[in-house]
Symmetry: C2
């Protein structure tokens, strides 16, 4: 059986009652985190400029843009909410593959839900299915694939397509075609790191998935062999792959349990360093003026992905482990305020950033880092983080997540509105209409 | 200088007066052929289903859909006109790379022209620039690239983006960003051959290019190194490449002179066989009942791309050199009527198709084929086509092209309307407003 058909059959057969409560709760946590990120990113210049370009092409004020007053059609809502949920690089991460699971799936489902009624449980089920399938496809291809592609732009579009297929009630054949149409839109090269186009790639995965499902609903056809065919997704975009990972344990194990939420607003591979720096700063009451140099030892992928030494902009600084270490030591934080153009050009941050060195060590895992800070008086303080905060092994608590989301909504939503949004997220399984959440996440 | 900047500088500096008259005339021929294909494809089920899915998402009746009465916004017009211009596989071909140059560039420019006034000469200039740049990028990457990707989906989007950048009057920096945003949308795997999604990939290249230019116009940013960067378009999508081909002779030689127009409605690599079969049929007054078997000797790429032996559908039969040979001998033609589901299932065609054999011979060029037909009485008749009709070396005349376009418009436009559309195409250099052409190509 073609893989696309096997996945379609799973998606259409899956029921919420068959999914463990712990996985369902993780989906609610992911939804809360996504909602906060979308609201928090909604005033970013990338989002402002995209809206300026796209508003003349919106069919009508059908759907909410989280954190904003404009309303647009569902295809544009999927794109723009996806962009704002990702633009701060603060969204969730499937750590094994570096896929950001919620952006493609939640952005497109919530947009669809404002076009046709969708209950909270129906949303949760479609969301879980979309996340499951995109993560499994990511598991199959991430090896060599990730050095070239943004995997959320390539694998994420399948999650969006299949979630919409489930929510729209497509037939198995239509769902197979939706996956094929999605595969014709897998795109997004990593050269776009640190530019607005990175968030566009992520939002576009959401929009492309919805478009695929809408076309398939009308009988639009695609190849059934879209995954494993000789010129299909896997052979073209993944020189190394593990096809069996796509279906092994399907319906039994749930990838949402491997999801993680960022405490810091930058590339996840830099987080162990930030965690160590903040702990050192707080434990030793370090001040910028006291420090001579900072030495990092990290997993090689951290340097590969966040190796920019002198970031020219705030967006680029999210991909600089040097900048992340500097702000973590100077500010004791690595929130959105640490990745602005102003912070990048701050003389104190810049001076310390130039005295950060980093070396790769393949013996360290990706959730691990060693940091040594040499003070001007010759003292050396060191920290070995073995399981970074925010990892699956050391997760943010529900309260941590709430605090993060409250911070993201600050200045955009009123405190009352923010509280209502958070409680609406937690209550998603009881909502008669998930569109309630979209309205709760927009300003009064 | 980054390649994107070099291309942007060329595009913004180029003037119509600097382009040889022969290249300008070839652009007009390409426009005529594109217009005919878009009208001819406008009633295909792929187009009908796409419109059914997309009409609810159109911002308004701003732009024409060629051959149809519905009107949609510019982004949707670029997509749908691009799809209908390609869906019959009858559009133009840059033979060296197998890029279809006009679909991305003309579809997006004509849509844009109904949004803001654009003179015929301004259209021609932007069209020539878009075609030039997409063909040069295709020249750089087609080697190994084409075995995996539809090059119109990958290289074509750059042509659409830069043509729109020129037409919109973007700055050099905005044009660089438009090329970068375009590079984040290069997509389309070859697994979609013979499905509706193949035409979607081609139309999407047009739409994606327009979207890139509209975003860039608002200051949306992308990487300048989108082509040659370590994770950029070339390194990710082209394992073998010839980067120098992108700029060698830029502004001096014109790729539009390497463009060709199909006399037959199928994959261009099958055309030499069709040409030979029709010539044999006519010369020897062959009838289906007389023939025992048909033996083809072809360039290897013809078998690689059109090697389907028993096509299940009309769309798939465009990729069957066996079906093409059978209908060419039986019908003496290979127009759209030869690639329908009905013709695929016709007992006479099917019986002969099963008696067609093909072998590759690397000594034959791609515009060459040998065909031998053995008759039931033992007679063998043979033909060696050295330069297929429709190739650059043996082009369709202006009158041939007119006849092809008239045939495509038959039954969709009135004869008067069809004649007006054709004369409007020929007069493009004198048009005050190119939108005149869009209106001429829709039914009364």
């Amino acid at each position: 059986m073609p893989l696309a058909r096997e996945l379609a059959r799973y998606a259409l057969g899956e029921k919420l009652t068959g999914i463990p409560a712990v996985a369902q709760h993780e989906a609610v946590r992911a939804l809360l985190n996504w909602t906060g990120c979308a609201v928090g990113g909604s005033r970013h210049a990338a989002v402002e400029r995209a809206i300026a370009a796209l508003l003349p092409f919106s069919a009508g004020p059908h759907c909410s843009l989280l954190g904003r007053r404009e309303r647009v059609d569902a295809l544009h809502a999927a794109l723009v909410n996806g962009m704002s949920a990702h633009v701060l690089d603060f969204d969730d991460t499937h750590l094994r593959t570096l896929l950001h699971p919620s952006v493609p799936v939640a952005s497109t489902l919530l947009a669809l839900a404002e076009r046709q009624p969708m209950s909270g449980p129906a949303f949760l089920l479609a969301f879980l299915i979309g996340v499951e399938i995109e993560c499994r496809i990511a598991n199959a291809v991430w090896f060599a694939h990730n050095s070239h592609w943004y995997i959320t732009g390539t694998a994420g579009v399948f999650g969006a397509a299949v979630a919409c297929a489930k929510a729209l009630g497509l037939t198995e054949q239509q769902t197979v075609h939706a996956l094929g149409i999605a595969s014709a839109q897998t795109a997004g090269t990593r050269e776009m790191a640190g530019t607005m186009t990175k968030s566009f790639i992520h939002g576009r995965a959401a929009q492309n998935g919805l478009l695929a499902a809408l076309l398939a609903q009308q009988g639009f056809t695609a190849a059934e062999s879209s995954f494993e065919g000789p010129h299909g997704f896997v052979n073209v975009l993944a020189p190394q792959r593990d096809l069996a990972a796509i279906t092994a344990g399907l319906g039994t194990t749930y990838e949402i349990l491997q999801n993680s939420y960022k405490p810091f607003a930058c590339g996840v591979v830099a987080h162990p360093v930030i965690d160590a720096c903040i702990q050192l700063r707080n434990a030793h009451r370090l001040r910028a003026a006291d420090m001579e140099r900072v030495a990092l030892v990290v997993n090689p992928r951290a340097l590969e992905l966040t190796g920019i030494q002198s970031p020219p902009t705030g967006l680029k600084s999210k991909w600089s482990i040097y900048h992340s270490a500097a702000v973590a030591v100077v500010d004791g934080a690595a929130g959105e305020q640490q990745y602005t153009d102003a912070r990048v050009n701050d003389p104190v941050v810049r001076a310390l950033r130039e005295r950060v060195t980093a070396i790769p060590d393949a013996k360290l895992s990706e959730i691990e880092a060693r940091v040594s800070i040499t003070l001007r008086d010759g003292t050396i303080v060191s920290k070995h983080v073995e399981r970074v905060i925010g990892s699956v092994e050391n997760p943010m608590s529900d309260r941590d997540l709430e605090e993060k989301v409250r911070g993201l909504a600050h200045g955009i939503l009123s405190p009352q509105r923010s509280a209502a949004m958070i409680s609406t997220c937690w209550a998603v399984a009881d909502l008669e209409d998930i569109a309630t959440l979209a309205r709760a996440a927009t300003p009064d």
